[in-house]
């Protein structure tokens, strides 16, 4: 049988890979993909707990997280397109007009 420990560890590893990608990359699209990876890691933990507790509620929360992620991607990519239209770049180091 798969133990809860292994599942949580897999979830933690995926989450940490997402954080590492978010910190080390400067391409805004890949940073966005790293956020998706972190959301997936959270979903995996939720579904493991749903199986462990025998109640479906955590699965429903994971479903809502997926819907939220879809909405977030739509708006986020629209913002990226607008930024690219104005600045001609997707490098976050060059997007510093709000920096004082």
């Amino acid at each position: 049988m798969i133990s809860l420990h292994q599942l949580l560890l897999l979830s933690a590893v995926l989450f940490v890979i997402g954080i590492a990608g978010f910190i080390t990359r400067r391409n805004i699209i890949i940073m966005f993909m790293s956020v998706e990876l972190m959301l997936n890691a959270a979903n995996l933990a939720l579904i493991s707990f749903a199986n462990h507790s025998g109640s479906m509620d955590a699965q429903l929360i994971a479903l809502f997280v997926m819907a939220l992620a879809a909405a977030e991607v739509a708006v986020g990519l629209a913002i990226i397109i607008t930024v690219f239209r104005n600045k001609q770049t997707v490098n976050v180091d060059e997007l510093n007009i709000l920096k004082w």
Binding site: I17, I30, I47, I80
Partner: protein, 168 residues
């Protein structure tokens, strides 16, 4: 036993795909690796008896979200020089140190939980199938469901306003 082997196989595939997704230079290659990661996660959802969510994972994440990413990369038409750069070495090092610390903390937090999955009495029949999910969705979670539908509508309108062609 077969469950265990499948879990290890797809866990390794998911981790390798995730690592490749955040280290490739070309965003399109990253997106394809991410699709592989999402699909192996869907297999793990099936092992956890979340059949409906596994289907949603493949359709929404691997199908819709990553497709949207690839379309946007195509629209942006990135020149080869700027597509993939890492931050400078100091920040990269800091990122690695930070992630190792976080992973270590997760590990200590999870060390005591060696519990076997599945309730003591076994899961009830139909657990995680579309019928059970739908019944919960339209009874106990009907209010969040309506809120999510409004949120999706707002997201569509927002995306159109932000990225749509300005009429000038």
């Amino acid at each position: 036993m077969a469950e265990q082997i499948l879990f290890y196989l797809f866990a390794v595939i998911a981790i390798i795909s995730a690592l490749s997704a955040v280290t490739r230079k070309n965003p399109v290659v990253s997106a394809v690796w991410l699709v592989s990661c999402m699909c192996s996660l869907a297999v793990i959802y099936v092992l956890l008896e979340a059949y409906f969510l596994a289907a949603v994972q493949v359709i929404v994440y691997a199908g819709a979200v990553l497709m949207l990413f690839v379309f946007v990369i195509m629209l942006l038409n990135l020149r080869t020089g700027i597509i993939g750069q890492f931050r400078n070495l100091g920040l990269k090092f800091m990122g690695l140190v930070l992630t190792v610390i976080i992973l270590r903390q997760f590990y200590t937090a999870f060390k005591g939980t060696s519990l076997i999955l599945g309730n003591a009495g076994g899961l009830e029949p139909g657990f995680g199938e579309a019928r059970a999910v739908g019944e919960l969705l339209f009874t106990r979670y009907v209010y969040p469901l309506e809120l999510i539908s409004i949120l999706l509508l707002v997201a569509i309108v927002g995306a159109l306003v932000l990225a749509g062609k300005e009429s000038s």
